[in-house]
């Protein structure tokens, strides 16, 4: 592995997930040495556990966090606003794999939806046309099924219920993908063995993650200096206002300094704004790149919910790929439904230990037990749609709770927007009807889980006063500071965000490589 001196002003990437891992590969492949700092450990595929809670304890980001607001997560899981990963490969190691693209109009949410009371909608400074070539490259890199010649995954039991229900209620746009897990060997990795463990890390390496593709390839270039267990706690700047170094804590609590000529932050949408807020200085008294007061604001987490339906015959939903089933019929914007934006329905399976914790948090008694008794006959789906950005939904620094390093923990404040609530109720109804159409004897509306899609806290904007970064992800206020994760999303769209994060990172890498080679950075 390449070793870059700590006093050498390097290209420094913070976070090794979908954004940071992709950026590290694309830049090193272009001949640019990088330091990649990852807060978590280097956990390998063979280290993963086929057990929900063991895997959770191994992989999840469990540093101190707090919550506030009227969202139900704050009541049920007050210390766990988000379920994301702290490890090399970031949350791509536990993501399920669905890769729909954003739609044309979703980049123009304000123009399309108009003024929505209480929402801070804004058009992206880029269009679908700008991103389309990078979507192609991302799909090819990730091996999305149904795309670029990649075959579809077969129907598993949960999908059979889901797709037949879809057909019976009149939906047409259902399929087992697009889904970034190999149906046949591809890109040096094997086909899925349908082991049913996605959220726990894929031991078989059939599922795309930066752990199995971008990071090993970046290391092979000989240009990557990967440092796991390196939690960045501050970005410093020089008298010129440009970032000049990052400070990080190793696993023993020792502080280190890495000099930087470019800093790319990809810590996911809670840690990224937290780091900028922690990096306040005399010159940037409210946090780095926060002169317009948008860092941490407009936090989005997608409108989500689940429906679990019980049948009088076996389903065994846990056998096979967790989310290889997508219905897109409700994804379009159709305000006649009583809300703007759209949503997808996607198959979802939990094992008994997660289902018990999440199907109805806080519930107990005979009705709860009956739902669990029906486990083998249960089918499940997730609903995921566009939520409204709101300035008051935001990540701030706690004034009372500290993390293990003594630094202010992030607080995540979230209130559902009326549009989110209307969409969720509509989607619950549709999901229950779908299952009734194939004979469900009962079904249950499960509230949102801790957020897996965290977006928008350093949003992209044409004008500096409207956001944090420009169309390349470059901070409006700090010319050598970039944001390279889902934080940059101006609005959230309905689709699962990983594909778009990867596409944006490939595009940003191309821009960065050009600027670096031209001597502009």
């Amino acid at each position: 592995m390449n070793q870059i001196a700590k006093d050498e002003a390097a290209v420094v990437i913070i976070g090794s997930g979908a954004g940071g891992g992709t950026l590290a590969y694309e830049l090193t492949a272009a001949g640019i040495p990088c330091v990649l700092l990852e807060a978590g450990a280097f956990i390998k595929n063979e280290d993963y556990h086929n057990n929900e809670w063991e895997a959770f304890r191994q992989m999840a980001w469990l540093d101190a966090r707090t919550t506030s607001g009227s969202w139900r997560v704050a009541k049920d899981f007050p210390g766990l606003p988000a379920w994301i990963v702290k490890a090399v490969g970031g949350s791509t190691t536990h993501w399920s794999g669905a890769t729909p693209r954003f739609k044309d109009y979703e980049f123009k949410a304000k123009s399309t939806y108009g003024d929505v009371a209480g929402a801070t909608l804004l058009d992206w400074p880029i269009t679908l046309d700008d991103l389309a070539p990078y979507y192609d490259r991302a799909e090819i890199a990730m091996g999305s099924t149904h795309r670029h010649g990649r075959p579809a995954l077969p129907a598993n039991n949960n999908y059979k219920v889901f797709a037949n229900g879809a057909e019976r209620v009149g939906y047409k746009q259902y399929a087992t993908g697009p889904y970034a897990t190999n149906a046949e060997p591809y890109d040096g990795r094997p086909a899925s063995i349908q082991d049913g463990f996605n959220f726990q890390g894929d031991k078989n390496k059939s599922k795309w993650s930066t752990l199995v593709r971008e990071i090993p390839r970046a290391l092979e270039t000989g240009l990557l200096d990967l440092r796991p267990d390196s939690h960045v706690v501050r970005i410093t700047h020089g008298a010129d206002g440009k970032a000049d170094a990052v400070l990080y804590v190793d696993k023993d609590g020792n502080l280190h300094r890495q000099a930087a000529k470019v800093v790319c932050v990809a810590g996911n949408s809670i840690e990224t704004p937290r780091l900028l807020l922690l990096s306040e200085s005399n010159r940037f008294p409210t946090g780095l790149a926060n002169g317009a007061d948008h860092v941490g604001r407009h936090y989005m987490r997608h409108m989500t919910g689940s429906v679990y339906a019980q049948f009088d015959k076996p389903v065994h939903m846990f056998r096979g790929e967790t989310m290889a089933g997508i219905i897109a019929d409700e994804a379009a914007n159709n305000p006649e439904r009583g809300f703007v934006g759209g949503y997808y329905m996607e198959t979802l399976s939990l094992g008994p230990s997660f289902l018990a914790a999440f199907i109805e948090p806080g519930a107990w008694g005979p009705e709860f037990a009956a739902m669990m008794d029906a486990y083998a006959n249960t089918a499940g789906m997730w609903i995921v749609g566009e939520d409204m950005p709101q300035a008051t939904n935001r990540v701030t620094l706690s004034d009372s709770v500290k993390d293990q390093w003594g630094l202010a923990a992030p607080n995540v404040h979230f209130d559902d927007h009326a549009n989110d609530v209307a969409m969720r109720n509509y989607a619950y109804e549709k999901a229950q009807k779908l299952y009734e159409a194939v004979g469900a004897v009962s079904s249950h509306r499960t509230p949102p889980y801790p957020s897996t899609h965290n977006l928008g806290t350093c949003r992209m904007s044409e004008k500096p006063e409207d956001g944090v970064v420009d169309k390349w992800g470059r901070a409006h206020e700090v010319s050598n500071l970039f944001v390279s994760d889902g934080s940059v999303m101006t609005t959230g769209a309905a689709a699962n965000p990983t594909l778009t994060i990867v596409a944006l990172a490939i595009r940003q890498a191309e821009y960065l490589a050009g600027e670096l080679k031209a001597g502009n950075l």
Binding site: N50, N51, E52, W53, H146, A152, L153, P154, A155, N156, N157, Y159, K160, V161, A163, N164, E167, K172, Q173, Y174, A175, T176, G177, S192, I193, Q194, D195, G196, F197, K203, N204, K313, P314, V315, H316, F318, R319, G320, G351, P352, S353, L355, A356, A357, G362, W364, G365, P366, F368, A369, M372, D373, Y375, A376, V438
Partner: protein
């Protein structure tokens, strides 16, 4: 089932008698319920009433009760509060109550730290028990067995085989 529960009752009663004969339990309660089989059995009944699965073995409920008792070993204050609630349950004759009365009794204490700890520990313990998985029909870790690709991932036969391609592609 009934026989087992009678054993639980007898065990509970005799342990209390034994404790009071040593003079340490004039209050009639056990300061260290984690090491006390009668306390564990009483707590296991609480868990069974709160999460009633007629096909789950008693052993699984007892294992969960053991985990809860360990989780209750926080500060002396927390430990004391937990032990006191167990004692109250015993005094109220919880072990002798029929299902409906026992359920009502738990509803009356559902907001207590005792019950919140019991409930929250149970959902992540009882349903993470391989013996319980077997009863529920969940097959657990699968990678070492080659996944489910040859073990029924698509064996559902009561619905037609659905299309897997996208609609546009299927035209």
């Amino acid at each position: 089932m009934k026989t087992t529960r009678r054993h639980v009752l007898l065990g509970s009663a005799s342990a209390l008698l034994a404790a009071s004969s040593l003079g340490g339990a004039a209050l009639g309660f056990t300061l260290d319920p984690a090491k006390d089989e009668a306390s564990k059995a009483l707590l296991a009944r609480v868990v069974r009433v709160a999460f009633p699965h007629k096909n789950f073995p008693d052993a699984a409920y007892l294992r969960t009760a053991g985990v809860i008792l360990t989780a209750a070993e926080g500060t002396p204050g927390q430990k004391l509060a937990f032990a006191a609630t167990l004692h109250d349950l015993d005094q109220a004759g919880f072990a002798d109550m029929d299902e409906a009365a026992a359920l009502d009794h738990l509803k009356s204490i559902e907001d207590t730290p005792f019950f919140v700890l019991t409930r929250s520990t149970t959902v992540v313990t009882l349903y993470d028990d391989p013996e319980v998985w077997a009863v529920l029909g969940y097959e657990g870790p699968s990678f070492d067995k080659g996944g489910y690709i040859n073990r029924g991932f698509n064996d559902l036969d009561w619905l037609p085989e659905p299309r897997i391609e996208e609609y546009e592609a299927a035209q």
